[in-house]
Amino acid sequence: MDSNKQAQSSSYPPQPTTFSITHPPNSAAIAGTPPVPFHHLLQQQQQQLQMFWSYQRQEIEQVNDFRNHQLPLARIKKIMKADEDVRMISAEAPILFAKACELFILELTIRSWLHAEENKRRTLQKNDIAAAITRTDIFDFLVDIVPRDEIKDEVGLGGMVGATASGVPYFYPPMGHPASGGPAGPGGMMIGRPAVDPTGAMYAQPPSQAWQSVWQTAGADDGSFASGGSGGERNLDGQGIGLVGVFVFSKCLGCGRVYFKDQLMTMAGLVGDCSLIIVGLDVWSVFPILLSCFDANTGQRHC
């Protein structure tokens, strides 16, 4: 035995044997003992690198902010002064206007983009902007700027983006009332389907493709759209300007039938011959969520 060991130790260079003596308990032991300096350094460096790059990114973003905030104040002032009523402007005003302008353009862009997406285009066109203006209450002041005839009724409903989750209420732009005159009357131009026939096409199939759920895709825009929804609410009560006769409907979670909100007469939900089971209001507390519906006369459930 001893001679073997000796033979072994003589054949191997001394260093590995010393290593093998300290190594055997392997990783567990190493973790327990003060960390090997090299590993530690490497970790530290990596952390530092990460921090460095995330800081750089932040800086770049900040610089971008300032660069974007570059609508020329003098130009803005001139535009403001074009209105003779406006006399003296404090120094802070143009700065506010510059930022407000930027935010406004962003809002308009998002909503126009939505329209372009609905029509499966990748180029933003003037009619997208016109559509965004018409759809949004607070953009009513622009209604004469981008002419209505720019709005083209495009691709059929079949190709709409994304089947939305059932039960999510759809905001349907004004139909009918083509004689409601005024520039604000967008009668049927939007997703201008005559399919506002509640009895006909509606019940046939879940129209999930028919209308784009505006809230779903609006993303960061939820705030404004919610107010758009409540704007719709206002109009339903016959008040408010702009959109006339907004139809809003809820889809039955059971069978997909749609019921127009104006037709939902009570919380119990009676629409003609149909009775609806309403489980509550949606997150915006505007539209009822329908669990199922059934025929009020026969008592037979549709779903």
Partner: protein
């Protein structure tokens, strides 16, 4: 009631274009969105009208407060009135940031002005001495 506004001033196209395109690439990061030329013009025009709209509203608020100069408070109130109240917070932040940035600038500027004035005084004094010297000499 319609104010005729001069057609002279437009917002710089390049900046409008940048704002739009950046937002578009945010909205659809997967593919490139293009913007039609006419659409860009429509954006510019819309923004310009927005300025008028906001400006007129703020101006009315200012006049109602019996003041001559439109200030930041008027603008904030105007935003609420035209139902753009979600702009108020980011605008407030932006204004605060701008003030911070420029607080430093103002100090530098006033220092420069003081230095300039000192130098000018020195120059004038020297000139005066020279002239006096000429006269007496």
């Amino acid at each position: 009631m319609e104010k005729v506004v001069s057609e002279a001033e437009e917002l710089p196209k390049a900046i409008v274009r940048r704002v739009v395109k950046e937002k578009l690439s945010e909205c659809s990061p997967d593919y490139d969105f293009n913007v039609h030329k006419d659409a860009l013009l429509a954006f510019s025009e819309s923004a310009r009208i927005f300025i008028h709209y906001l400006s007129a509203t703020a101006n009315n608020i200012c006049k109602e407060s019996k003041r001559q100069t439109m200030n930041a408070e008027d603008v904030f109130k105007a935003l609420e009135e035209i139902e753009f109240s979600e702009f108020v917070k980011p605008l407030g932040a932006s204004l605060a940031e701008f003030k911070k940035k420029n607080a430093g600038k103002k100090v530098d500027q006033s220092r420069k002005m003081r230095r300039k004035r000192r130098e000018n005084r020195g120059f004038i004094c020297r000139k005066r001495n020279q002239n006096q010297a000429k006269e007496t000499g």
